[in-house]
């Protein structure tokens, strides 16, 4: 199952990574160079097997309730952009940009 250029591009979009067309060759070759070693798994009969627990019996469920987040510094100390307690980001899409909206600043 060789990875094609278009699949690299598609996967990069899914992963929210910007990959230039110039790098697609290199990345496809790298991924194929790794995935060829995974072919050995396809030859194994694994019918009836499921994923194991990393350490049997250790995982416990906690109560379905929230508590305070133990942050010792305000969000302003580490957020790239914040206003009135909200993280601010660029507009969702470029077609929404208008002069009026720009004047209003980032949307919370």
């Amino acid at each position: 199952m060789a990875v094609s250029h278009s699949e690299v591009k598609h996967v990069a979009e899914l992963a929210r990574l910007t990959v230039s067309d110039a790098r697609l060759d290199e990345l496809a070759a790298e991924l194929n160079g790794i995935l060829v070693h995974m072919d050995v798994l396809a030859r194994l009969d694994t019918s009836g097997l499921s994923a194991p627990s990393p350490a049997p019996g250790c995982t416990h469920l906690r109560s379905d309730s929230s508590g305070p987040i133990p942050l010792m510094a305000p969000r302003e100390a580490f957020a790239p952009s914040i206003r009135e307690g909200f993280f601010t980001v660029p507009r969702l899409a470029t077609h929404e940009v208008t002069e009026a909206a720009d004047a209003a600043g980032p949307t919370p």
Binding site: A15, E30, L35, T46, S53, M72, A73, P80
Partner: protein, 494 residues
């Protein structure tokens, strides 16, 4: 304090003298910083340390001395300087994961393991270099450049916790924390000639460890001897309500057994050590085989019974690991998107463009490669062929351990790595680099505890022997390691 006097002190000895009032923590911290300067731990030389601040460490030393800590000045690690891998959150100190995307990030909370060590009086003196987001086996994938092995600066430290391993090996600190997903504590421990421990999955809280692959991630410890490694693991182990994968199983006092062992000629009576041929393949070097044989002879002389066992799925660990780990990483690293913390690329026209630009600028080549690989194996059409298949084969690998430990074996003995440290820049093929983890990734996939300790030298470089035990049987693992270390004596470093 003279440099050689400081380097001769192990953590347990430092805390005993601090508690007795015969050693000032400030003096210990000063000696640690002096040693870091002496060996050239900074960016321009060995490049082991990403952050350190003597004023901050000295303020902590004053607190320990004055007994201002919750346990007073007499904790089990009172005044002990420690280094911490830079993917473990330390309150008020940088935590960058050696990545541009977290450059300048200062953690607003602290990992449970760090809090527990501080409660016992340990002092953080350095955050250490590592492969970016712990993705690597050489500490060459750091955004801040490669770390250099203190035994030979032309060689790698191993990775991904290379800075922590080398900081212990070069005598800057007696103990350090690292993290493991496929061998990132044991492999650099072997390359640098120190002890490295990976606990059972669930034994140590991962709260505050920046997530890479959640079903494989562990916090582990480095030390110059088994006793100090056991001391650190006793301190950081145990259930933590903030990590739902931490186990509610009592933690043994690993070190108590060492006292009686010291007076017994055959301290491993009743212990059966398994040796699996799959961990001794044809490609294993003659020197490594010879050192392992010597260690096995010593184990026999200590009273252990050595038996041959079969672990038939060992060779599948790397293909399985490099499907599951990138898959989980692609999900975990989705949080680094320039919105809540870390860097943000400015000038993007839209939210989606900002995500892509920030992540592509912020992540290095290996992290990008693994995110793409992980996203691919989870994507429609490939999930069953890769991810589901790998999870099934993971069961076969785990069953190998279950069968061996349910039978006659108490522990397994293997080489930690196929080779000793290799030259910086030598391995450029990603899969060839992944093969560095061939003897260590199995324990992460099965969740069993494992540790590496020095067993000698090959071509002048340290070699590690690995001891693997059953789930939550760290006490047996430490028992065998302690006896072997004592029997090797100075030979462990020759």
């Amino acid at each position: 304090m003279k440099s050689e006097d400081f380097r001769a002190l192990h953590a347990a000895a430092i805390s005993a003298r601090v508690a007795a009032g015969t050693l000032d923590p400030a003096e210990v911290v000063a000696a640690s910083f002096a040693r870091a300067k002496e060996v050239g731990a900074g960016r321009e030389e060995l490049n082991l340390v990403l952050w350190s601040d003597e004023k901050v460490a000295q303020a902590d030393a004053v607190s320990v001395k004055k007994g201002m800590g919750p346990r007073g000045g007499g904790g089990s690690l009172a005044g002990v300087p420690m280094a911490v891998k830079d993917n473990i959150a330390t309150l008020g100190l940088p935590t960058t994961c050696a990545s541009r995307i977290l450059a300048g990030y200062v953690s607003p909370f602290e990992a449970t393991a760090i809090t527990r060590l501080r409660m016992e009086g340990a002092i953080v003196v350095a955050k250490t270099n590592m492969d970016e987001f712990a993705m690597g086996s050489s500490t060459e994938n750091s955004a801040y450049g490669p770390a250099h092995n203190p035994h030979d600066v032309r060689l790698v430290t191993g990775g991904s916790s290379g800075g922590s391993a080398a900081a212990v090996a070069s005598g800057i600190v007696p103990i350090a924390l690292g993290s493991e997903t496929g061998g990132s504590v044991r492999q650099p421990a072997a390359f640098c000639g120190v002890v490295g421990v990976k606990p059972t999955y669930g034994r140590v809280s991962r709260y505050g460890l920046v997530a890479f692959a959640s079903s494989l991630d562990h916090i582990g410890a480095f030390a110059r001897n088994v006793d100090d490694a056991a001391l650190v693991m006793e301190t950081i182990s145990g259930i933590d309500p903030r990590d739902s994968t931490s186990a509610n199983i009592p933690v043994a006092k690993y070190r108590e057994q060492f006292v009686s062992m010291a007076t017994t000629p055959t301290p491993l009576d009743g212990i059966t050590v398994g040796v699996a041929g799959e961990y001794f393949p044809e490609m294993l070097g003659t020197d490594m085989r010879r050192l392992c044989d010597r260690a096995l002879d010593l184990l026999r002389s200590l009273g252990a019974k050595v038996v041959s066992v079969s672990m038939p799925h060992t060779s599948l660990a790397i293909p399985v690991y490099y499907i599951i780990a990138p898959a989980e990483a692609s999900s975990n690293l989705a949080r680094f998107d320039g919105v809540r913390y870390g860097m943000r690329r400015s000038g993007s026209a839209s939210l989606r463009e900002m995500f892509g630009d920030t992540r592509s600028d912020g992540f290095g080549p290996e992290v990008t490669r693994r995110i793409l690989l992980g996203t691919y194996v989870l994507s429609a059409g490939y999930y069953d062929a890769y991810y589901r298949k790998a999870q099934s084969v993971r069961t076969l690998i785990a069953d190998d351990f279950t069968r061996v430990f349910a039978g006659t074996c108490d522990v397994l003995f293997t080489p930690t790595t196929p080779t000793t440290a290799f030259p910086i820049g030598q391995i450029t093929d990603p899969y060839e680099m992944y093969m560095s983890d061939i003897f260590t990734a199995t324990a992460n996939l099965a969740g069993v505890p494992a540790m590496s300790l020095p067993i000698g030298r090959s071509n002048g470089m340290p070699a590690g022997g690995q001891i693997i035990a059953s789930h939550f049987c760290e006490d047996k693992m430490f028992r065998v390691a302690y006896a072997l270390e004592a029997a090797l004596g100075g030979e462990a470093h020759q």
